[in-house]
Subunit: 96 residues, 2 copies
Amino acid sequence: MLILKTLARAPLHGYGIAQSIRRMSDEVLTVEEGSLYPALQRLLLQGWVKAEWKMTETNRRARFYTLTAAGRKQLGVEVSEFEQMVTAIGRVLREA
Amino acid sequence: MLILKTLARAPLHGYGIAQSIRRMSDEVLTVEEGSLYPALQRLLLQGWVKAEWKMTETNRRARFYTLTAAGRKQLGVEVSEFEQMVTAIGRVLREA
DNA sequence: GCCTATGTATAGGCTATCTAGGGGTTCGGG
DNA sequence: CCCGAACCCCTAGATAGCCTATACATAGGC
């Protein structure tokens, strides 16, 4: 969900995705490379993102991932489910 | 965390914990038995809960779990970490 | 006598994470 | 000119926890 959300802003390469999530969450969330790249493979397989090799601003070869229409839809589903779950957990936690 | 929170209200047996979480979350959260009992074993091992066999209101033999002092402390830690994580994810999701 | 609800508990499969590596490039400083 | 830090991709293996499926047992209603 976090990867999809990050890509919803703009296409980005793996390294950038990790940096972005880390920075946006004020260093609370860290996506390790061993989780990130397998996750990106799964997203590719599901057709939620597509990838193409490009050059970065720092003149480096990198694989840029872009959110597809299906990916955008999936993001909506996952955010919705996530919020429902957080709400439910909140109810349990705040129960007398 | 949900189990600890449930036991923070009152000692309860496994079956009751599952029912309680399900009910309190408006049927959103379901703790399967294959998750629940191993989880209770881990909580016992960590010393966060203790167990004793008793009779239920329906005259049945059941193992009642009680939150220990360490368990109450752990619950606080976990709730705090959970809220920090949810806040962090929220920041990523609401980022422009 | 049988079915449903109440109860405890484990084995095995599955999935996703992290650790720990293996590559390789660019750029600035000593 | 080398070296380290930052930038970039990716995988193997260990680990951990969930779910499915199963086994077992009792109480109460029909």
